[in-house]
């Protein structure tokens, strides 16, 4: 009687049946990569940028794909919490709480469905990034293992932030409050990270803070496999550290979420 499966299926049905939500979620990443990536392509006016500040990426789009994929995961995950408030305000929460399902299933169904929703966005974004002029280039190839690193990093980022925002939402009844918090932290999380810019392009204090941001760990791990293709042992060790950090954080937050939600979730 965990209720996790029927609740997750419910979330996905709601997603598929909402064409606006579905379409904007799929199209938004394309705008990101096409507009942001093309507008800020510093390799066009600064020829040495590739090796100096872009870690060897042939163009800016190739450099920021990892960052855009990560922030896309971040933004989608942040809104997992809003669905909890919708359920509370529109009534279904009352039904869930008077049934014998695990309280944590209510929240985990939102988390899992938000992770699932991110996957088609990832595929669409990668295809779009390759297709746009002077777009994503896999100079040294791209293997199944690289794809696994990419997917793992995004999934872990999604787990981390959907857990945080779901726990916040279980204590809120006002939709505006959760939107306010999302709007407050999304830009700092993105810009105080290496998602869009390398450490060389940042003020030293900002780069120092950004190295502890999980968004940086995911963006850097994805970037490393996209730019370098076949990795050296040292590079794999570094990726292991980033993904290990993300996995540890995700596991800790998911456990904390389960504990807090079983005790705290209410009508």
């Amino acid at each position: 009687m965990s209720g996790l499966w029927p609740l997750t299926v419910r979330e996905l049905k709601k997603w598929i049946r909402n064409p606006t939500f579905l379409l904007t979620g799929l199209v938004q990443p394309i705008f990101w990569i096409a507009l942001f990536g093309s507008a800020f392509d510093i390799t066009r006016f600064f020829p040495g940028a590739s090796s100096l500040v872009l870690g060897g990426a042939p163009n800016y789009i190739t450099y920021i794909v990892g960052g855009v994929l990560t922030t896309m995961g971040l933004f989608t995950a942040m809104f997992a919490g809003t669905q909890i408030i919708f359920d509370r305000r529109l009534g279904p929460m009352g039904r869930f709480l008077s049934s014998p399902i695990r309280r944590s299933s209510i929240v985990f169904s939102k988390i899992i469905s938000s992770v699932i929703r991110i996957m088609p966005q990832v595929v669409i974004l990668l295809v779009a990034a390759v297709l746009i002029p002077n777009g994503l280039k896999f100079v040294h190839g791209f293997t199944i293992l690289d794809a696994l690193v990419l997917a793992t990093a995004i999934v872990l980022v999604a787990f981390i932030f959907s857990s945080i925002f779901s726990v916040i939402a279980t204590r809120m009844t006002n939709m505006n409050s959760i939107f306010g918090i999302v709007n407050l932290v999304n830009l700092p999380l993105m810009f105080v990270s290496f998602a869009m810019f390398s450490s060389q392009m940042m003020a030293p204090w900002l780069a120092n803070v950004a190295q502890y941001n999980p968004v940086s760990w995911s963006a850097e791990a994805i970037r490393m496999v996209i730019i370098n293709g076949s990795l050296t042992a040292a590079q794999w060790t570094q990726i292991g550290k980033w993904l290990g950090g993300l996995a540890a954080l995700a596991a800790g937050l998911l456990l904390l979420t389960a504990y807090l939600v079983e005790k705290e979730i209410r009508d």
Binding site: M1, G3, W5, P6, L7, V9, R10, K13, K14, R17, N18, R89, L90, G91, P92, M93, G94, R95, F96, L97, S98, S99, P100, I101, R266, D267
Partner: protein, 331 residues
């Protein structure tokens, strides 16, 4: 009959200040339709929320189906069905999908759930609309759906919290028939809260009148009405002087003011007393504007025990509540 629900000094205080339920003691027998009657804010929904384990009591205990609501809340939730006051069905799913989803919450085998779902949808005449999204349902259809969602796992106890709130008279009567049929077919114990007197009168075998979180009286609707010992003759006269004179009418139990130029005369039996009162009116050459005879109703019982009429309390409140519910689901 065995006792299926029993509360002992059940109390809920919100924020350390607002006492919503105050040392409530009720005993419900298996197979009954038990009515909790009271105005908005009486503590009915808080009582239901505690008995269905949605909120924890501040003090006191309650036993539901043999399980303590605090220590064995999961066991309680397995054997109860709930039809909350608010709409709970997901409007982005169809009626059938909502029912099947809830059946999975209770581990009902799929084949059994499909069968029960079909029977219940047919019973409340929603079989034609079962595969439409709930967002297209009318208020009455949503209420009917809520009723059967609470039954999909064939619970031993069903909680109905204001099941006909805001519905028109025709749909309300239809809902009463469904509730009676459900009780007859499934032999489920039903706990019904309502501030509609006729609803409780029509459905409940036992009633507790609650106000400000306390039980004022418990009994069958007939017992409660008989406890008033008398009929009410309401008489409106042309002026207040005449109304005052009516207070001297002999051989009646009580005469009280009940509005401009109006008195309420309580008599043991109106059939016997009415001719005497008419004689008194002609002897004193009084002019009457209106005369009505009322046999005791639950409203009179409520008035007797609380000092005010539940109908006056509720003027328009239920309509506002229903409109608010509909706005919420349409957002």
């Amino acid at each position: 009959m065995a006792t299926i629900i029993e509360t002992k000094d059940l109390t809920k205080i919100y924020g350390g200040k607002v006492k919503a339920v105050d040392k409530l003691n009720i005993k419900i027998e298996e197979g009954e339709i038990y009515g909790l009657l009271g105005p908005n804010g009486a503590g009915k929904t808080t009582t239901i929320n505690m008995l269905t384990t949605r909120i924890a009591p501040t003090s006191g205990t309650a036993n539901v189906g043999g399980f303590d609501i605090t220590r064995r809340s999961l066991d309680v939730r397995k054997l109860i069905g709930v039809v909350p006051q608010d709409f709970t069905a997901d409007e982005d799913l169809t009626g059938r999908e909502n029912m099947m989803m809830v059946s999975q919450f209770y581990d009902v085998p799929k084949a059994k759930a499909i069968e029960t779902c079909g029977v219940l949808l047919k019973m409340v005449e929603l079989d034609d609309a079962a595969d439409r999204l709930v967002r297209t349902y009318s208020g009455g259809m949503r209420k009917r759906l809520e009723l059967i969602i609470g039954l999909i796992h064939e619970p031993r106890i069903l909680f109905l919290d204001e099941p006909t709130l805001g519905l028109d008279v025709q749909t309300r009567t239809q809902m009463w028939n469904y509730v009676k049929e459900i009780q007859k077919r499934l032999n489920v114990t039903i706990i019904l809260t309502s501030h509609y007197l006729e609803e409780i009168d029509e459905l409940a075998n036992m009633v507790s009148i609650i106000d400000r979180g306390k039980v004022l009286i418990t009994g069958t609707p007939t017992e409660l009405k008989e406890s008033l010992k008398g009929d009410i003759i309401s008489l409106t006269l042309v002026d207040q002087k005449s109304a005052e004179l009516m207070k001297t009418v002999p051989d009646v139990l009580e005469v009280t003011d009940s509005g401009p130029n109006t008195v309420k005369i309580k008599v043991t039996n109106s059939d016997e007393s009415l001719p005497k009162i008419i004689n008194f009116i002609s002897q004193h050459e009084l002019s009457t504007v209106r005369l009505t005879v009322t046999k005791p109703t639950l409203d009179e019982v409520f008035l007797e025990y609380t000092g005010r009429s539940i109908r006056e309390e509720e003027g328009g409140a239920d309509a506002r509540k229903f409109a608010m519910n509909m706005r919420r689901v349409r957002r």
